[in-house]
């Protein structure tokens, strides 16, 4: 991650913030708008950040994963199902059922990671195909079970839509959330907080540990890694499984942290945006995080502008159309990526199965 990217991304996020603050400042205190924008940005970027981290672990070890979307969708469904079952059938309290849901989501993500690794590393099938298989399978399995369990008369919940235990509560972190005014930024739900922590941990693991060095070496030059005694198969397996677990956590965000319900296809392409963020950030955790924050900021802008619709000055009337505001992050990404920053460089051995 070069400093040029950081500076540009910082400028763009600031620009989006400034636009909203300028529009809303006559009605709401600028600091309050800033804090609200910041908090929303962090929150909505969560699944993208986690998805991008999943991609980073997989690809830095040399395995392409376009199945992030399917991993997220499956774990969103099974995590939610587990939390509902724990709450209504096994009679657990709200918080333990929600945590069960998160755990199951992570496990399902990890299992799909195993599946992906078996296909790509052991059977050496085309990694794009393996990812596509996961994506289609996820749509089928979640759609099928969703209908079968909840809407069929003989289904598990007797044709009635089950009562969900709700969403994870916001955390109070002493020393952070107690800061006057700005403390609100850190009043996040647990998965959002863990996503941020995971960015730092992943950066550390990939760059400063033996594990990270080995991961990168099997992703760049598996033959050389093998020659010095690194087990390529094992490293790839574990990294894809870790990636799967992280994608599972992203899935839990949708149904256990954001809204307490599941609907078919609810991930809505965010796995692919994570993929884009990963490439944008040049396969580094901080870079990818910065990229997801651009998406987060744009979405926060879209949400906040809804409140200030009446205040938008006529020369900016185009911002009243939320679809136009919705275009911003995608066009920005294309512009930044090609015009200013140039090429991203993938790990050298990514996508290639290792033949001994």
């Amino acid at each position: 991650m070069d400093s040029k990217r950081i500076v540009f991304i910082f400028l763009i996020i600031s620009l989006l913030f400034v636009i909203v603050i300028m529009i809303g400042k006559s009605q709401v205190d600028p600091i309050v708008i800033f804090v609200s924008m910041f908090a929303t940005t962090l929150s909505v970027a969560t699944p993208l950040t986690l998805g991008a981290l999943c991609g980073i672990y997989c690809e830095r070890s040399g395995v392409v994963n376009i199945g992030i979307e399917g991993m997220m969708l499956s774990s969103a469904f099974f995590g939610w199902l587990a939390s509902v079952m724990a709450n209504t059938i096994f009679g657990l309290e709200v918080i333990p059922s929600l945590l069960t849901g998160v755990l199951v989501a992570v496990l399902v993500g990890g299992l799909l990671g195993v599946f992906h690794a078996v296909l790509c590393v052991s059977f050496k099938i085309d990694q794009i195909i393996a990812g596509t298989v996961i994506n289609i399978l996820a749509i089928g399995v979640t759609g099928f079970l969703n209908r079968q369990l909840f809407f069929e008369k003989g289904g598990m919940f007797g044709g009635q839509f089950p009562h969900s235990p709700g969403v994870l509560p916001r955390l109070n972190i002493p020393g952070l959330t107690t800061i006057p005014i700005f403390g609100k930024i850190f009043e996040q739900q647990p998965i959002a907080i863990s996503a941020i922590i995971l960015v730092f941990i992943s950066h550390f693991i990939l760059n400063y540990t033996r594990w990270g060095l080995r991961t990168r070496s099997v992703g760049e030059n598996p033959l050389a890694a093998d020659t010095v005694g690194i087990n390529v198969t094992k490293m790839r397996y574990w990294n894809v499984i870790i990636g799967g677990c992280i994608a599972g956590l992203a899935g839990a965000y949708f149904t256990i942290e954001s809204v307490p319900s599941f609907e078919p296809l609810l991930t809505n392409g965010r796995g692919f945006i994570s993929l884009a963020a990963m490439i944008f950030g040049n396969w580094s955790p901080f870079g990818a995080w910065a990229a997801t924050l651009v998406f987060g900021a744009a979405q926060a802008m879209q949400i906040n502008l809804q409140f200030f619709r009446e205040l938008i000055p006529p020369q900016l009337a185009i911002l009243q159309i939320s679809y136009v505001v919705g275009l911003i992050p995608y066009i920005l990404t294309m512009l930044i990526l090609t015009g200013i920053i140039g090429k991203s460089r993938p790990p050298a051995a990514v996508g290639k199965p290792y033949e001994k």
Binding site: V133, I136, F144, I273, M334
Partner: protein, 367 residues
């Protein structure tokens, strides 16, 4: 390797072997899918009978299968062509949507714009060309960014998908919304009669678009394997450096590959508008990009293979409704079976292992 050869007790002709593994893969997927149906308490035989009846069981079913398959053929070809050039086009959905928007705009707005009705022989091709052109541009932008700046086409086609999504939402809810008083949904007005393809047989939805699709399959095949341009696409796809040494302008080829890929997806949208719906409706294009990738991969990026895969996917989509009606098994089971088919076709190692088919010995003897 060579030792394993004589163990086989019967010989299969070489040309059949090419097809044997994919056929066995589909067969295995159907068996595994049947087991899944059995586990959830359904009757697999009845389900598959319903699926078959609904897709091939009658003239009407056959006609509907071609209707479903037509956009799949175009979109699958789009992704396959890009793959041949070493490019991953995830943006077929956006290209298709924009092609449909452009074709329906040409269909309803052109006569009003010119203040006169346009003869069908001009208006209809114009409408289709508008869709193709929109797709060409939508695929061409990521292609240009890749050729000129090295911008990653995976990111840019995904981004163009969302740009298309937001833009069509805006257009179909605003300037292009069907103004008729009964309309409450986001859709364009109906295209003028002169921009509508007439049905081939009265009472059936089977349309010329399918025949065009078949022609385009052969043209794409011909271009890819019989022309210099196709050779250049495939060379750049397998090894851009070798292409450069051979004097191929790889930037130009990259741009053209993605742009034509987009044009094919745009054609899918244009045909849906001119031959079937006569207008574009929001949400219509959802899922085509996904399916197109699967179809291209299933067809091994070969136009003929894509055609067969598209028919298979179209048939399953079409037959699924009848299956659900007859057996109450949710249509979503189709996606599971499709994923299994793709898995087994791709992982021919698994299929070969199950059926004890050995790989051709050529490879072993060469080394």
């Amino acid at each position: 390797m060579e030792k394993d050869g004589p163990k086989r007790n019967f010989q299969i002709p070489e040309f059949l072997k090419e097809f044997l593994v994919p056929i066995l893969a589909v067969f295995t997927a159907i068996i595994v899918g049947g087991i899944v149906i059995l586990i959830v308490g359904g009757d697999p035989i009845a389900a598959y009978r319903g699926l078959f009846e609904g897709s091939f069981g009658s003239i009407r079913a056959l006609s509907e299968t071609t209707v479903w398959a037509t956009p799949y053929i175009f979109a699958g070809l789009a992704v396959a062509l890009a793959f041949n050039g070493g490019l991953f086009n995830i943006g077929a959905e956006g290209q298709l949507a924009f092609g449909a928007v452009a074709a329906s705009w040409a269909g309803y707005a052109l006569p009003a714009l010119l203040g006169t009705s346009i003869p069908k022989i001009i208006h209809l091709p114009l409408s289709i060309i508008a869709g193709v052109l929109a797709g060409f541009i939508w695929g061409g932008i990521p292609g240009w960014l890749k050729a000129k700046f090295g911008g990653n086409e995976v990111i840019n086609t995904i981004m163009m998908n969302y740009v298309a999504l937001n833009l069509t939402s805006f257009l179909l809810n605003g300037p292009m919304k069907d103004p008729s008083p009964t309309n409450v949904i986001a859709r364009t007005p109906e295209a003028a009669e002169s921009a509508q393809l007439i049905p081939i047989f009265q009472g059936y939805r089977f349309h010329w678009g399918f025949i065009l699709a078949v022609i385009i399959v052969f043209i794409t095949y011909w271009i890819l394997y019989k022309t210099t341009f196709g050779f250049e696409i495939r060379t750049v796809g397998t090894n851009p450096n070798a292409g450069r040494y051979a004097g191929i302008n790889s930037s130009k080829i990259t741009f053209l590959t993605l742009a034509i890929s987009g044009a094919l997806a745009g054609l899918a949208g244009a045909i849906e508008v001119t031959a079937l719906n006569f207008r574009h409706e929001l949400g219509f294009s959802v899922g085509y990009g996904f399916d197109a990738i699967a179809i291209a991969l299933l067809g091994r990026n070969n136009p003929i293979g894509v055609f067969i895969a598209a028919i298979l996917f179209g048939a399953m989509k079409n037959g699924a409704t009848r299956m659900q009606f007859l057996t109450q098994i949710p249509v979503d089971i189709i996606s599971i079976i499709q994923a299994l088919i793709l898995l087994f076709v791709a992982a021919d190692a698994i299929v070969r292992f199950i059926y004890r088919i050995h790989k051709k010995e050529e490879k072993a003897s060469v080394s």
